[in-house]
């Protein structure tokens, strides 16, 4: 995992049109910024999508990334979420080797982490867990010795914490300002 200090969560509200993700992703690569993870889906208002992008900022200052993103015509609003002021979740799915002897240990581990078993085969289990990215790291670590056949993480989502939403949420820049 990248150094936590260098990671920043940007919540980017965009028009829900084809090609918008390519514009956002293209901007990052063209300007030499690193995307650590990316999650995108329509919001409750389906004219818009929200892209949650975790950026790995070493060379490029965050401010420059945000300003360049704002220049994209399809971008409406960008919010930087400070990890301490945000609730973060990521989804992990993994198919794990689980023979008759180890199956109990695997399900116990999944239960401890609050995950679920979503598919069962003769030699394997597919398990699923939604939690903070760090907790997923821990889980991944512990499950690995059993034998991971396939693993997929969703990329991180984040929303501002409710009690901090009004005063402390930092709106990095906004066109209407």
């Amino acid at each position: 995992m990248a150094d936590q200090q260098r990671r920043h969560i940007l919540s980017v509200l965009v028009e829900n049109r084809s090609g918008v993700l390519a514009r956002v992703a293209g901007l990052f690569s063209r300007r030499g910024y690193n995307i650590f993870s990316l999650a995108v889906a329509p919001t409750d208002d389906e004219r818009f999508s929200r892209i949650t992008v975790v950026v790995d900022v070493e060379s490029a200052p965050l401010e420059q990334i945000v300003k360049q993103l704002h220049k994209l015509v399809n971008v409406l609003k960008i919010t930087e979420l400070d990890p301490s002021d945000a609730v973060e979740r990521e989804l992990l799915m993994a198919s794990v080797t689980a023979s008759a002897t180890t199956r109990g240990q695997v399900t116990e581990l999944v239960a401890i982490f609050g995950g679920t078993v979503v598919d069962v085969g003769p030699e394997h289990l597919t398990v699923c867990l939604a939690d903070e990215p760090r907790r997923l790291d821990d889980f991944e670590e512990l499950i690995r010795p059993f034998g991971i056949v396939e693993l997929q993480r969703s990329g991180q989502l984040a929303l501002a914490k409710l009690e901090t939403r009004a005063p402390r949420l930092r709106r990095v820049s906004d066109r209407s300002a």
């Binding site: 965009v14 028009e15 090609g19 390519a22 514009r23 293209g26 901007l27 063209r30 200052p61 401010e63 420059q64 300003k67 360049q68 704002h70 220049k71 994209l72 015509v73 399809n74 971008v75 409406l76 820049s173 066109r175 209407s176």
Partner: protein, 579 residues
């Protein structure tokens, strides 16, 4: 009223006030070329799509209005990539219409299919792939709106063939911005920031106004002059801003940067305040950034917020259009003086005296031609200048000739200097001059081109002859890719690698005449004026004057790439003060 998408497109361009389209047809754009026959819009048929793009840029440079280019799909779209990148770098408002294969064929590697919106995504301000003929008017209105507002730039609209053939009910959108919820450029500067800027200006004892191309794009030359005259601050005009401030003005320092003059470069180095207006701290201006203007506080005005703090931190950043901000800033400076009392004005005369001494000690200079040796390119530019008025539009290519043109011409008016600054596109001059002449038919348009550049796009002179666009081209023929030769001479031990072209291959006079132009060759100083006068007297066809110039001549002053501006080299035989 039912129209085809193609008819709606042309009608939209008419509604948008388009007078001229530079273009070349082909399969995917065929439907759109049919209604052009019946449209009052003039279409100028270029010989290569790159020419259409640069011509549209030239038109936009001199008129301030968006230039329009139209080409077919695939190879035509890829041919126009260079002008789009050029316009993006220099913030030139242009609208490019491309044909595309039918929507059903997109993604199948159909004949002449290219991912035009994908390819041009990073070199346009925005682009659109239209999938429904009903969208055409609103997309065209949006395209012009985006191209011309905020920081201007190129936009592209890609129209599949079935969309231009399809039917729609005609309408014209009332508010182009309605469909652009994420696009709202900030034009008016923040009043508090403007006040802060005024304070810094009133405090400064060594101020320099660093004017960039934004002044020209926003039509702020008059206001720039007001600010300079009000404050007494001297003005440098970057390569993109030549003409934004009259070179004849006592406060004019001319061009800063890699090939700027000593006084302009040094004044910025020694300044205690840079009043940066529509400029972007380009590496060709700053030299080594951490050694650039080390003592200066920075006021930075730009309509693009991303330019503020991108290269150099601004003490007072102001997002806004130069015209609107300058109007307020001039008032704010007056108010600040009033607040401080009339006697509080800082005396700038020691600063100006210092600058004058640099100007006297290190003027731009070159050794005049000796008997029997080749022409000096600087002399040619000087004679062109003297035999043409300050209303003349000067267009250049990229290389040594470009630098000499920018140094030795005396610019008095905005929008009279057309060049490729940010991208440095060889081949820009001839087609851009055509576009400039179309935009300002009453003006004399001289392209000052290099032999290398000329060979890249000269075929557009066929367009110029056919369309009766009487531009004038001065080729400074040094038989070399001169600027590259200069770097090899200075930094690669005079090991000249692949830079020799030849003085007489091609034969420029014959080539010019084959393209319907008048061709003139000039080899000695005494022929220069006669040739220029002859060229000036011809107004029914393009003229090409080939000047055989001295290949050994180098552009000075020069700040070597990556060096500090303090290490400016003033000339081959470096005088006192040069390092």
């Amino acid at each position: 009223m039912k129209l085809t998408g193609a008819q709606a497109l042309i009608k939209s361009l008419e509604a948008q006030g388009v007078e001229v389209i530079f273009g070349l047809p082909g399969g995917a754009i065929l439907p759109v070329y049919d209604p052009i026959i019946d449209s009052p819009i003039r279409h100028i048929l270029v010989r290569h799509e790159q020419g259409a793009g640069h011509a549209a840029e030239g038109y936009a440079h001199v008129t301030g209005k968006p230039g329009v280019m139209m080409v077919t799909s695939g190879p035509a779209a890829t041919n126009i990539v260079t002008p789009l990148a050029d316009a993006y770098m220099d913030s030139v408002p242009v609208v490019c219409i491309t044909g595309q294969v039918g929507t059903g064929s997109i993604g199948t590697d159909a004949f002449q299919e290219a991912d035009t919106t994908g390819i041009t995504m990073s070199i346009t301000k925005h682009n659109w792939l239209v999938t429904d003929p009903a969208d055409i008017p609103s997309v065209i209105a949006q395209a012009f709106h985006v191209a011309t507002t905020g920081r201007p730039g190129p936009v592209l609209v890609d129209i599949p063939k079935d969309v231009s053939n399809g039917l729609m009910e005609w309408y014209w959108p009332e508010d182009p911005a309605a469909g652009l919820p994420g696009y709202r450029p900030t034009l008016k500067g923040h009043p508090r920031m403007i006040k802060e800027a005024a304070k810094l200006i009133c405090d400064a004892s060594r101020p320099v106004i660093y004017a960039g191309g934004g002044i020209i794009r926003s039509g702020a030359s008059g206001l720039l002059r007001s600010l300079a005259e009000l404050t007494g601050a001297p003005v440098t005009t970057t390569l993109m801003a030549r003409g934004a401030f009259p070179d004849s003005h006592p406060l004019a320092l001319g061009m800063p940067g890699m090939h700027g003059n000593y006084a302009a470069v040094t004044a910025m180095q020694k300044a205690d305040l840079l009043i940066t207006l529509g400029a972007r701290f380009d590496d060709r201006v700053t030299g080594r950034v951490d050694a650039f203007a080390p003592l200066a506080k920075v006021v930075h005005v730009d309509v693009d917020p991303a330019e503020l703090g991108k290269v150099r931190r601004a003490d007072v950043p102001i997002v806004g259009d130069c015209s609107l901000v300058l109007e307020e800033l001039v008032e704010a400076v007056r108010a600040e003086w009033q607040r401080r009392g009339e006697n509080s004005r800082v005396d700038l005369s020691p600063w100006m005296a210092e600058i004058r001494s640099w100007q006297q000690r290190y003027p731009l200079r070159y050794e005049p031609t000796e008997e029997g040796s080749p022409l000096k390119p600087q002399f040619v530019v000087e004679r062109l200048r003297e035999l043409n008025g300050p209303e003349t539009i000067v267009v250049s290519g990229v290389g040594q000739h470009q630098m000499w043109a920018s140094q030795y011409w005396r610019f008095e008016n905005p929008n009279t200097w057309v060049n490729s600054g940010g991208l440095g596109t060889m081949g820009f001059a001839v087609p851009a001059a055509i576009g400039a002449k179309v935009g300002r038919p009453g003006a004399t348009v001289w392209a000052i081109d290099g032999d290398g550049c000329f060979q890249m796009t000269a075929q557009e002179l066929v367009t110029a002859t056919a369309e009766r666009i009487p531009i004038k081209v001065a080729i400074l023929n040094n038989a070399y890719l001169g600027m590259v030769r200069q770097w090899q001479e200075m930094f690669y031990d005079q090991r000249y690698s692949e830079v020799y072209l030849s003085p007489d291959l091609p034969d420029y006079v014959m080539w010019a005449e084959a393209m319907g132009c008048v061709g003139i060759r000039v080899e000695s100083p005494d022929q220069v004026d006669v040739a220029i006068q002859k060229a000036n007297s011809i107004d029914d066809r393009p003229v090409v004057v080939e000047f055989r110039t001295d290949a050994r001549e180098m552009v000075y002053p020069m700040v070597p790439a990556g060096a500090s501006n303090d290490d400016i080299v003033v000339g081959p035989t470096q005088g006192e003060g040069g390092h």
